[in-house]
């Protein structure tokens, strides 16, 4: 086996040194009746070339070379090549959690920079070293709010990513934490009157997403006022991190729970991604996850360490703020490098291109279909309602190697034939125009089908 650095003679010499006759002696503690006396039924040992071929075949079966209009919590942005050059360095790739600070300063300093940039972008005072992803970060953010307020229920906007809501429901269920869903208004923003009515004296927090699942930017200040008026905290989930380049961050929030996938992390069929929790300084001791802090060594030299570990499971065990241990350090490093590359000016320009592409697409799509939810600003996603079932339209687009928007019937049946479309800086005008052609065709056929039905109705 090519990964194993021992010759048969080495193994013999080692067994001899130990005083064992054979390797079986070392497995004697396992009761004989349980020992496996056959080969595992897994594929035979493969050469590297065979492994690469096998996965190439899988990649070909997986939409390789398709243009995508999907977003909905996972975004296709350009990844500058130096991200992979740098994270592929073995010193980053093959290191563990930086418990031994003296030989982990590379990881520690980079996390400190990550925390700093996350604070700058979210408008919060402290940010952690990462969480699993945006969905679990949102759930942990809510649990944190419950600890901070001593209250037990949650008001959650229906315009939060449906799968994030499912994750929260799973986490909340066994904490005996009731969830109240707050509807959205005609402009897709949280219905403020309903929100006001949904909050009780036991509401720990309001959870919203902005830009929300439909791509609409929420009125965070108004929502914060309502939450705070009732003594509840505001947790804001951000699924599309690029929005922070041009959209005012939720400064009025108490906790921001982010998904940083858009910052240089591949789509990768849904993971690994990079969650982050950011909050106000006064709440830091109830924050889950690793934190890196600055300190000095014995000679007064600046250095970085993992800190405030008394919140964590390895010290507090069942009294910890969360059971989280491993986070997403390498993915956070990708995001860190991405943020460093685009920086103060680039992030804004990048976000602006996203805005422009989505605005153009919404305008063009609007000629042949109904773009829902006008009257509130959007970032790079929008909802389109068609006469025809969006699955049928998408099937046709697949023939042109285009993956269309996400049909919403499964999550929001009340929206009918609606789909969520996303444009990023990588979406070309040609691709948008190609979809417009298909939509026009769909509109014509839906119209003639309707006319036929109407005629039949009249005849009858």
């Amino acid at each position: 086996m090519r990964y194993l650095p021992k010759s048969p003679a080495d193994r013999e010499a080692m067994l001899k040194a130990i005083g064992a006759r054979s390797i079986d002696d070392l497995f004697a503690p396992i009761p004989a009746e349980y020992r496996l006396n056959r080969d595992l039924k897994v594929p035979r040992q493969m050469a590297e070339s065979e492994i690469v071929d096998w996965f190439r075949e899988r990649a070909r079966e997986n939409g390789d070379g398709y243009v995508t209009f999907l977003g909905a919590g996972a975004y296709y942005h350009y990844r500058p090549v130096i991200i992979d050059s740098l994270i592929s360095r073995g010193e980053f790739l093959t290191a563990y959690t930086p418990y031994q600070a003296e030989i982990s300063q590379g990881t520690l300093q980079s996390i400190f920079e990550f925390q700093t940039m996350m604070c700058e972008l979210t408008g919060m005072e402290v940010a952690n070293a990462s969480m699993y992803d945006g969905s679990t970060a949102a759930a942990e953010g809510v649990m944190m709010a419950a600890r901070l307020t001593g209250r037990h229920s949650v008001a959650i906007a229906r315009s939060v990513h449906p799968e994030y809501r499912e994750v929260l429901a799973t986490y909340a269920h066994h904490q005996g934490m009731p969830l109240v869903t707050v509807p959205f208004a005609d402009n897709a923003r949280v219905d403020l009157n309903q929100l006001d009515k949904s909050i009780t004296a036991d509401t720990a927090c309001v959870l919203i997403q902005s830009p929300n699942f439909f791509g609409t930017i929420e009125d965070v200040a108004a929502i914060a006022d309502i939450a705070h008026k009732h003594g509840a905290l505001l947790v804001v989930s951000i699924a599309e991190a690029i929005s922070l380049g041009i959209v005012e961050p939720p400064r009025q929030a108490d906790i921001v729970a982010m998904e940083a996938q858009s910052f240089g992390v591949p789509l990768g069929f849904g993971g690994p991604y990079c969650g982050v929790i950011a909050t106000r300084e006064q709440f830091v001791r109830q924050m889950p996850g690793r934190l890196v802090g600055q300190t000095t060594d014995r000679n007064g030299k600046r250095g970085f360490v993992l800190t405030l570990a008394t919140r964590e499971q390895h010290i507090r065990r069942e009294k910890a703020t969360s059971n989280i241990c491993t986070n997403q350090a390498l993915i956070a490093l990708m995001a860190n490098i991405f943020m460093t590359i685009y920086g103060k000016v680039g992030l804004r320009e990048l976000a602006k291109q996203n805005l422009a592409k989505a605005a153009y697409a919404a305008q063009q799509f609007g000629k042949h279909a109904k773009v829902l939810f006008s009257g509130a600003p959007r970032f790079n996603e929008f909802v389109v309602q068609t006469g025809e079932d969006p699955h049928a339209i998408n099937s046709r687009l697949l023939g042109d190697k285009i993956v269309g928007g996400l049909p919403l019937k499964k999550f929001y049946p009340e929206l009918g034939n609606a789909a969520l479309w996303c444009c990023t800086e990588l979406t070309t005008r040609a691709a948008i125009d190609a979809v417009v052609g298909t939509l026009a065709q769909s509109e014509r056929s839906a119209k003639s089908a309707k006319e036929r039905a109407d005629v039949q109705e009249v005849v009858r």
């Binding site: 990964y3 035979r44 920079e113 005012e248 300190t295 060594d297 069942e318 000016v345 070309t428």
Partner: protein, 496 residues
């Protein structure tokens, strides 16, 4: 005596400030293509939601970024540099073909919501890995969704709860041995269970008599790490399983130490009802400075209705798809399907090994731990003489007489060119030195390690002050953790 440090030597390494300290207006490392759609007026589109300023975000050039992170990287120790014997962390070689295949276009750029018709490759990977892991663990079904080991524990206990609930009541308690990792009790609390401690016997194993007396109808499950954190296989595992099952409880296995078992014994065969695996330990996916991990949960048939949604199925036309309609499911524990990129790597590792490679890997891991135990026995105190599987736990009892503790020895080991072992854990061994070499170490590397540890033991006798002040050769000396926690500085701020 001057120590002979054979593995490592000092050499120049670069200083590097924070990236913010290099920033100045007008520098850039990015270039966007010309916009092929009309420009937009952001003020009109966004109104009061428009952001005007990105604060102190850096402005630097590409070469500066390359140098910045490359310099930082050289301050890290890594498996690629040498032995990383952290106990229960399984720091094994991370094969590079894993990295190549996980970056293939169709996989790296696959969107989680793309139609199943164009997701057959990803689904096939999910299914093939699932089948391999089910076979390796001897279980009946699996979910790959949990993002890490602790997240797998959470998912597992949610299923335990749902199982008991379906039979009337969720029960109240989880039994956890005192040798367990901190995530076990933290997870039980997260799922709303009370934690009851289970003491270990003189051999470092579960005290079966104590278990029998503590087990009753209020206990939902026992969370057992096997081999446990002492590297000891629970020899009375069949009795443990029987005691749990007789009172309707479940046996949960923390698979952190599965590297001792793959291909030699299967938890499903010795009475385990559910367990999580750590793909970033046993299955070689990189630790990356603390993640991403991946914590699949393998289960017996009785728990199958409770698996998180969605589940991969073969449809009537022979293609693969996701099944969402599972009324008894515990729900979702993460958006999408889990850390897919880690599944690709873990499967590549499994294919590179095959059945013979996996078995040889386990044998080498156990051989290595026993070789280190033999090499250091008599030099360091061995609190439990029970046979060692994949890791060995010593204590600092002898060295503590000179005022030198496990952490001090660990820091001195850094000067010898090694990453320290796990210190001060498991809790049942005061001053623990927990050493897991994994199969990835050659005899030469381990001989160097044994020499280093022996040399440090001599130094403790001759010059304890020198050991207490270690490390001596790193770019920073011991850092003031107390000050860091007392007045936390958690982000950079520009000079006022």
């Amino acid at each position: 005596m001057k120590p002979t440090i054979r593995k490592a030597t000092q050499h120049v390494n670069q200083n590097e400030g924070l990236i913010f300290e290099k920033s100045s207006p007008g520098k850039a490392a990015w270039k966007l293509p010309p916009l092929d759609v009309p420009e937009v007026d952001t003020a009109t589109l966004l109104g009061s939601s428009e952001r005007k300023d990105l604060g102190n975000m850096p402005e630097v050039s590409e070469i500066e970024i390359i140098r910045h992170f490359t310099r930082l990287s050289t301050w890290n120790y890594a498996i690629d540099l040498g032995m990383y014997p952290l106990g229960s962390c399984t720091m094994k070689y991370n094969p590079r073909v894993n990295e190549v295949v996980s970056r293939l276009d169709g996989l790296a750029n696959g969107h989680p919501y793309q139609p199943e018709k164009v997701s057959q490759g990803a689904l096939r990977i999910l299914q093939t890995l699932s089948e391999c892991l089910i076979e390796i663990t001897g279980m009946d079904a699996i979910t790959l969704q949990p993002a890490a080991g602790a997240h797998g524990e959470l998912t597992g206990l949610l299923m335990v709860r749902a199982y008991h609930q379906s039979r009337g009541a969720p029960r109240k308690k989880i039994l956890i041995p005192d040798s367990a990792h901190g995530t076990n009790p933290a997870t039980a609390a997260t799922v709303g269970y009370a934690v009851e401690n289970l003491k270990s016997d003189a051999r470092g194993m579960v005290d079966v008599a104590a278990l029998a007396s503590q087990m009753n109808e209020e206990v939902a499950a026992l969370m057992l790490t096997n081999p446990n954190t002492l590297g000891v296989f629970e020899q009375e595992i069949h009795k443990i399983a029987d005691i749990m099952h007789a009172k309707g409880g479940l046996l949960y296995m923390d698979g952190a130490n599965m590297n001792a078992l793959v291909g030699k014994v299967r938890p499903g065969d010795f009475g385990v009802d559910l367990m999580h695996l750590n793909l970033h330990k046993t299955f070689s996916t990189p630790h990356g400075g603390g993640g991403p991990g991946s914590g699949p949960v393998a289960i017996k048939k009785i728990l199958e209705p409770f698996l998180p949604t969605p589940v991969v199925i073969t449809k009537s036309d022979g293609t693969l798809g996701f099944e969402y309609d599972r009324p008894q499911s515990v729900g979702r524990v993460r958006a999408f399907y889990g850390n897919f990129g880690m599944f690709v790597r873990a499967l590549a590792y499994t294919l590179a090994n095959g059945p013979d490679g996996l078995r040889q890997t386990t044998e080498d891991a156990v051989l290595n731990a026993n070789y280190i135990r033999k090499g250091l026995e008599g030099v360091y105190d061995l609190p439990y003489s029970t046979p060692t599987m994949h890791e060995v736990v010593f204590s600092d009892k002898v060295q503590a007489k000179k005022g030198v503790k496990t952490m001090d020895i660990a820091k001195r080991l850094i000067d010898y060119g090694f990453h320290p072992y796990t210190t001060a854990f498991p809790l049942i061994v005061p001053g623990a030195l927990m050493i897991e070499p994994t199969e990835s170490e050659s005899k030469e590397e381990m001989d160097l390690f044994i020499d280093a540890m022996k040399s440090i033991a001599e130094e403790v006798e001759e010059d304890p002050q020198m050991v207490l002040a270690a490390p001596h050769t790193t770019r920073v000396s011991r850092l003031d953790e107390t000050a860091a926690a007392r007045r936390p500085i958690l982000r950079w701020k520009p000079a006022a």
